[in-house]
Symmetry: none
Subunit: 128 residues, 4 copies
DNA sequence: GTGGTCTAGACCACA
DNA sequence: GTGGTCTAGACCACT
């Protein structure tokens, strides 16, 4: 995995894990890789890996059993709402930014259709 | 003006100024407030205000006449392309995030229409 | 039984057993459940169950007869002093914490009476 | 300052700072020592010091201005309720432990008076 | 100057 | 084995 320097690595790893939950790659109750293994898999320092799980736990997406490991929350609703909530806030922020630039809803949708077309064949497969 | 802690203040102020240019509140050739005044208007540190103009200059959107002050670029095309460029990168990033969550183009547009409806009477253009 | 994550499970189980001795639910000389059974009863890892007995033995509250099992100490004085000792250390720690917050003895007692009133019908002795 | 090994240092430092807020040594809006200075004052690693402020911020007791420093929350109610809340939870836990041992309210208060008397002359002055 | 992030490596308690 | 804590020191962005 390659990291953008503009965003903290731990956030990028968190996003990656969230994405894997949302897409069903990781399911409620699943055990997550150990801190050390995550560090290897994502090529980060174990401390950074630990931070990832700590932050996810704060968000209620993970929980930890002492000495056993870290697990995806067992509440499937939480995962579902995670997707919805994330999407909603992204859309909201996007609309706010675009209207701030002076675009109306019609123009915004037009732009999305246009942009979508350009990249449809190129960047579709998520590399992860 | 209230600042998000997630984004550097100088970027937020830059965005605000850009928005004012794009929407016509600030026009090509207009003189911008002095560093000191900008600092007061936006309630930021003078160092931060100076940085704002420095970065805007780097982007070619402003220029400084020594002893006179800082001005909006006199090239109207630059402002126009600024709007287009900004919009394009926002749209691109947005689409990338949404597809990462597993939404396809159709769903994305659907969500925008839905979200757009809720906020139809927009809280637009606060010049602070 | 539900465990707080702030405190090691083995300590919580130890406290539970001690409480049962102090309240007379377990009496001097009584046989304690086997490690395996304890693990099941308390829904803990067998290693953790073993540790519980090991630590209790270190404190002299239990003893083990090889091949027979683990038993509560036969010395009734020990149980009695266990109660006194535990209480004393709890009280000591409590007073230290409260005085640290700036409360004097009078206020502390006031608070206990007030709090005690609210919970007068106690949720006592769940043996699980 | 001397640290107990049973409790994480960062929690002990947090408690110390909270105590200073509750007792009025640190007042709402006050700037807290910088991460580096705190590290020196409390003889801890700067990372640990940073963690202290981060956790306090999570609890809403502090806030951070980027590049400026960390400050005590400006809401005096929050400090007041901090004291009350802390005290209440300590008292509650204490009562629960004591009733678990089989003491009733009267005995508990008796013990506090007795214990208070013993240590009144010895351990009264809070060090730090 | 400030706080935030990251790496490296160690030690400990817990299950 | 697991996660949690701590130290050491570095680098960065922000004000």
């Amino acid at each position: 995995m390659k990291y953008e320097s503009s965003k903290p690595i731990y956030l990028q790893v968190m996003d990656s894990l969230k994405q894997r939950m949302v897409t069903g790659d990781l399911r409620p109750g699943d055990q997550l890789p150990s801190v050390r293994l995550l560090a290897i898999e994502y090529d980060i320092n174990p401390n950074t890996a630990a931070r990832v799980y700590k932050e996810l736990e704060l968000e209620g997406i993970c929980f930890t059993k002492r000495g056993e490991g870290t697990f995806v929350t067992e509440d499937p609703d939480l995962i579902r709402s995670l997707k919805e909530q994330t999407a909603k806030s992204i859309v909201k922020k996007f609309i706010k930014e675009m209207t701030g630039l002076g675009y109306d809803k019609f123009e915004i949708i037009q732009k999305i259709q246009k942009e979508g077309d350009e990249n449809d064949s190129i960047e579709n497969g998520k590399t992860d």
